[in-house]
Assembly symmetry: C2
Homo-oligomer: 199 residues x 2
């Protein structure tokens, strides 16, 4: 891709990224072609080719920098914090944009090593943050964990991805509580009976 510092090139590069991202979210990765991106960005097709000779690299650059804003900086007590993070995740994944970006990343990773690297970094970050949070819960004597640390995100995030991005359904308060319960034995102040019984 071009390293030009020409402001016009910078502008067209930015316009191309915005157009490619919009096509990706609206129509899926198959729509991110040089022709469609050029059309949507209002630039010539040759300009898109100059910046990104391969459509795959463009797709990769569109996906890079999608940060996962979850499970950062845990708070004690950990249980309500975890519930609120999982609720936010479920609400974001219920939007077509985030569901689309997530499944596109996961599916693209099966065929594209660039995207696989991107996916692995995302998922490892997620699992590491959950490990940190649960370690804090152990230190804080909130829980005796019975789950394997490597399974934390599969247990907590897997059902939420399935329910939202795959089943196009909503995640109930009860489901989140059940996911949290499945990690091990929670003590007194943090058991599910003490949580408000919202739907």
């Amino acid at each position: 891709m071009s390293n030009s510092t020409d402001p016009r090139a910078t502008r067209s590069r930015a316009a191309i990224l915005v157009a490619a991202r919009s096509l990706l979210l609206d129509e899926g990765p198959a729509a991110v072609t040089h022709q469609r991106v050029a059309q949507q960005a209002g630039v010539g097709r040759a300009t898109v080719y100059r910046h990104w000779p391969q459509a795959e690299e463009l797709l990769h650059d569109v996906m890079t920098g999608v940060d996962i804003p979850f499970f950062h900086e845990p708070e004690t007590p950990v249980r309500p914090w975890l519930h609120s993070q999982l609720r936010k995740l479920a609400d974001e994944l219920a939007t077509p944009q985030v569901a689309g970006a997530t499944l596109t990343l996961m599916q693209g990773a099966l065929w594209d090593p660039y995207i696989a690297t991107q996916r692995d970094e995302c998922l490892e970050a997620l699992n590491e943050r959950l490990e940190v949070a649960l370690a804090l819960a152990v230190t804080n004597r909130e829980i005796d964990i019975s789950a394997d640390p490597i399974d934390l995100s599969a247990l907590l995030v897997g059902p939420i991805v399935y329910r939202t991005a795959m089943q196009a359904g909503t995640v109930s308060h009860q489901l989140i509580e059940q996911l949290i319960d499945s990690l091990g034995r929670w003590h007194d102040g943090s058991s599910r009976e003490d949580q408000p019984d919202r739907p």
Copy 2:
């Protein structure tokens, strides 16, 4: 699509479906174009257009008839049967072909109403079969269920899809036991302590 009974048309139609399925599994849905399919099937591009004027319809027909071979005809005791079904599911989803087909179906469904119908039928069948199996476990006095019936597949299948198709990891015996435990309170003969402690 063509309804011709000309044996040559029937042969080319079958060859096109095989070629499209192979491209889908190897390279993803973006590879299922008239040109690539014609090349792979060894037929002219016009022949592909005659059978499937739209590539989306071809993609849909490739996906149709993918049956999910899981959770059929439950047996008592339900718990070991459920464990064996989840193990088979995890092993199948660990293959690139099944992981690819699953994520392609899920992702394609976000943009294509045909594929969305296909996905919904698959996922509803899965959830209904799990409801039937768990109802049998209740009748058989194996479990007091605390999970919402609508969440059964999210709780059991979600973590397995996440761990295999997304994290490219393996599903341990312990994880399957934990998923089964998360559904409610299992009684005596079917508690996890009575299961062999395989890795």
